[in-house]
Amino acid sequence: MALKQVSPTDEFIKGLWRDNPVFIQVLGMCPALAVSNTAINALAMGLATSFVLLMAGLSVSLLRNFIPREARIVSYICIIATFVTCVDYAIMAISIELHRALGAFIALIVVNCLILGRAEAFASKHNPGRAMLDALGMGVGFTVALFFIGVLREILGSGTLFGVDLFPDGFQTWTVMVLPSGGFFAMAMWLLVVNWIRQREADARKRANERAGEVAS
């Protein structure tokens, strides 16, 4: 049986919805839950992770014939740690305040299983073009998911969005949403929404198949 050819667009799109790293694969939860207490922190962490994902994917793909199987994990981690260090310097060069807000979690991008997972499962087996499309899709999917969690937590936990007050003075903020446990609550709420939509899609597909079967018979 011939393998189904995946188009470059599908390679990119899959990370946004069908294989979204946060809402579907549930990968990289440490930064997703820890740094998403405000929208801007979530966005910054998403972009930093996306850059590392993209550069690590490109490097691993380019070097895939050069790295022996036995030395692949140490090589991938070394490559990922290098780009994380570069991102760390870049963020400090852009804004010390942003660097302070993201704290230790920039360094922890090194051990984000999403990045090592995509290097091992995809980039090491595909050409640089496809590896970059996959990394870009996963990176955008990760950033958007983190941003959604961050928006929900900031609005409910602080009553603001990007630091701008949204509610009148009497609004009682849900402090729990900016605490670590709030990350789990926000994640659960979004998982509920995503799974509800996916279930509706699956039901619609099933009904369409049944109707097609009835017409054929």
């Binding site: 022996p68 070394c78 570069c86 310097y89 060069a93 010390i96 602080s158 605490l179």
Partner: protein, 229 residues
């Protein structure tokens, strides 16, 4: 029935492993050093600007500052190189000494907290406060940075020295929210008890270290000469 022939796996040579690991290591080292060199100047500028803005924020009357240090005998001297926890003397428009800014550090709830605060020689009091670095719990511990009643402590937090000028007359301590009765007490924050207690301890420690030398020696210092002159 014949048993399946064992699959012969090609063995990776030691040379190819050395080549890939050392090669990638060299490439990574080159990249890190290049990016470090490219960003070092900008990072140093950003850090200096951040500190300078923070100093201006806690001592708004200052127009120029000089960094000072303590020598082995505890005397105040001009710093020859930036310190890890620096202190500054602030001078006003006419070159008069308007205050000192002290950096101090101590353990909070989650990690070390680094603060910057200003001392007024006229009032013998701490008159400005800013958290430079903190990993305290968002929404709880970080209230020490924004809670108005806590920041009101620094309108004039008494930090006068004893008659000998060798130590604080009264130790700076944090009390429970609403129980402040003395000008050297910090009105704490309910829900951020450990962090607000830590701030009191940090200020007490920093002031005990710096204020005797500042009160004794600071008035002998002159403002920095401007470039135009």
């Amino acid at each position: 029935m014949n048993a399946p022939a064992p699959v012969e796996q090609k063995r990776t040579s030691a040379w190819s492993m050395y080549r890939s690991i050392v090669g990638i290591g060299a490439f990574c080292a080159l990249l890190i050093v290049t990016v470090y060199n490219a960003t070092a100047e900008r990072i140093a500028d950003n850090k200096a600007r951040f500190l300078s803005n923070a100093v201006a924020e806690v001592l708004p009357a200052s127009r120029s500052t000089i960094e000072v240090n303590l020598d082995a005998d505890g005397n105040l001297v001009a710093a020859s190189e930036p310190a890890n926890l620096p202190a500054f003397l602030g001078f006003g428009d006419d070159g008069e000494l308007v205050g000192a800014v002290i950096t101090a550090q101590g353990m909070g709830y989650a990690d070390n907290i680094t603060v910057l605060y200003s001392y007024s020689f006229d009032l013998d009091a701490i008159v400005g406060f800013k958290v430079l670095e903190s990993k305290e719990t968002p929404g709880l511990g970080d209230k020490v940075e924004i809670e108005p009643h806590f920041l009101a402590n620094f309108d004039a937090l008494d930090a006068r020295l004893n008659t000998d000028g060798t130590a604080l007359a009264n130790a700076i301590v944090t009390v429970k929210e609403g129980e402040k009765t003395q000008p050297w007490q910090l009105d704490g924050i309910t829900g951020a008890t450990i962090t607000s207690d830590a701030i009191g301890a940090i200020l007490n420690q920093g002031s005990s270290l710096w204020l005797p030398a500042l009160e004794r020696d600071a008035r002998a210092f002159q403002p920095p000469q401007s470039i135009e002159e």
